[in-house]
């Protein structure tokens, strides 16, 4: 019994390190006159607001890491690449690439 428990905990730890959870965030978006959606800032879970400096790529994609799928924006935030996903109106990030 004890053995089993440690085993699963270790295993789960390993899995959660390999597949970090998806983190839902608040996002500031600009909608252009053509209806294009451009995110320009996001509010992290600690309520701090980060500016998106640049968007490198926009396309539909699935995130196998976080588990989800939708429009993917690869953003530069303070010199780090962040994958930001718009999944049916809810936005989430996968931890830095």
């Amino acid at each position: 019994m004890v053995y089993d428990e440690t085993y699963t905990r270790e295993k789960e730890d390993k899995i959660s390190r390999a597949h970090p959870k998806k983190i839902y965030v608040g996002v500031f978006v600009k909608i252009t006159d053509e209806g294009k959606v451009i995110p320009y800032g996001l509010q992290w879970t600690d309520q701090k607001i980060y500016k998106i400096d640049r968007i490198l790529d926009v396309r539909k994609a699935a995130s196998l890491k976080a588990g989800g799928c939708g429009m993917r924006y690869i953003c530069m935030i303070r010199g780090r690449k962040v994958e930001l996903f718009d999944e049916e109106g809810r936005w989430f990030v996968t931890p830095a690439i």
Binding site: E12, I15, S16, H19, R59, K60, A61, A62, S63, L64, K65, A66, G67, G68, C69, E88
Partner: protein, 405 residues
């Protein structure tokens, strides 16, 4: 799409990816069968349609996840959007399979294999799912090809290689050779699709009827059916809902609750599609799994929930004596007519009261559309919270359509 429901669930549960998984109804509510299993569960012998307890016996560490149809619909829609970029001839076969005729796109998008390769890669990247694709000159061999190699594979069945690939395969691999056809074919000494193709079609017709000829045409690759255009669906012939109840039904009160609940769904779907029904059918399955259906023509066509329910209850009372508790119930409305059709009013029925009931139904539909199914309920439903707490309309309206419609 390979192990569609299971793959979608795995995408959303990365932590379960190295565990065997099956998507199946909630065992608490007794919808206890495996709908789809993941590749890992398949290896331990879990099969679609198995009861959950059987699956657990074969594979003790299996994880069961109740189905999320809204998610599957979304993925199915997204996949169809991708196919739609290659052709407008996309014919769905269930939620996760389609036929697409890309002959006309060849000049722009490249030949069949190139398009298939592109679609496979895009679905993997954009949806995170794997697909297997069959390419051929007819629908039957294309379907065969998609089942030939799995997962994440493309098989091409051409006029040069079909004798080697298709004809050597067991006859059960052909679409529409099910348990009973395969038994008949085996009795005739036909074991492979090639055997079937080499048999005299007249002999097949005399022993199996029309189906024999159809299967023969399938086997020689002469199926001429074309791929239907996007968004053209066959006209609806009947609307019905069935439910396996959370507990066995034992008396008329239980039955009233369940029939009203199913009638709510049937009525709402009739109204949504602007139909009225002139035949009501009731199907009963008792706890020994014995089942029967009875139907009755009604005097004036209806889409009023309470009328459907009352007719269904009358049919049930006339045909069942409670020899055994009941396990599942179906209510179906058929002989549909458009709801604008003029009909003969009945001298002995109060038409203004009917109109009022119609208005009431419309109001309830509107409330439910805005605030959800359980926002407004019949008083009857409060007699049994367990039985009535199922939204029959949302819970079960997905069926792959037959090839022959």
């Amino acid at each position: 799409m390979n192990t569609f429901y299971a793959s979608v669930e795995l995408l959303y549960h990365p932590e379960l990816r190295d565990k065997p998984l099956a998507v199946g109804g909630d065992p608490e509510l007794r919808h206890g069968i495996v709908l789809t299993k993941s590749q890992l569960a398949k290896k331990s012998g879990v099969k679609t349609g198995m009861a959950l307890w059987q699956a657990r016996q074969l594979c003790p560490e299996i994880v069961f996840i109740p189905p999320h149809y809204d998610r599957y619909m979304r993925f199915s829609r997204m996949a169809r959007e991708i196919y739609g970029e290659y052709t407008d001839l996309v014919e769905p076969f269930g939620l996760d399979e389609v036929w697409a005729d890309v002959s006309a796109s060849r000049t722009i998008k490249g030949d069949g294999r190139q398009i298939a390769e592109e679609i496979r890669a895009r679905i993997k990247r954009e949806l995170g799912l794997t697909v297997s694709i069959g390419i051929s000159w007819n629908k039957i061999f294309a379907k065969f090809g998609s089942d030939y190699k799995k997962p994440d594979a493309i098989s091409e069945i051409t006029k040069d290689n079909y004798r080697d690939i298709v004809w050597r395969s067991p006859v059960e691999d052909l679409l529409y050779v099910g348990r009973s056809s395969s038994r008949k074919l085996h009795a005739m000494g036909i074991c492979t699709i090639g055997d079937l193709a080499r048999t005299d079609p007249v002999y097949l017709q005399t022993s199996m009827g029309k189906m024999g000829l159809i299967l023969y045409m399938f086997a020689i690759g002469e199926d001429q059916a074309s791929v239907a255009k996007e968004n053209t669906s066959a006209p609806i012939k009947s609307i019905g809902n069935d439910i396996t109840t959370p507990r066995d039904l034992v008396d008329d009160t239980d039955m009233r609750v369940v029939i009203y609940m199913l009638a709510e769904s049937v009525g709402r779907r009739l109204r949504e599609n602007h139909f009225m029904a002139s035949v009501i059918e009731v199907g009963i399955r008792d706890n020994a799994l014995l089942c029967f259906t009875r139907q009755q023509k009604i005097t004036s066509p209806t889409n009023i929930t309470s009328e459907i329910a009352q007719h269904a209850i009358r049919i049930f009372r006339a045909n069942y004596r409670w020899e055994k508790p009941v396990r599942s119930v179906t209510v179906r409305a058929s002989s549909l007519v458009p709801d604008t059709i003029p009909y003969q009013t009945n001298l002995f029925e109060d038409e203004s009261a009917r109109q009022k009931r119609m208005d009431a139904d419309a109001a309830v539909d509107d409330i439910r559309r805005r605030f959800g199914y359980f926002s407004v309920q019949r008083g009857l439903m409060l007699t049994d919270n367990v039985l009535s707490h199922v939204d029959a309309k949302e819970a079960g309206t997905i069926h792959p359509r037959s090839y022959f419609v």
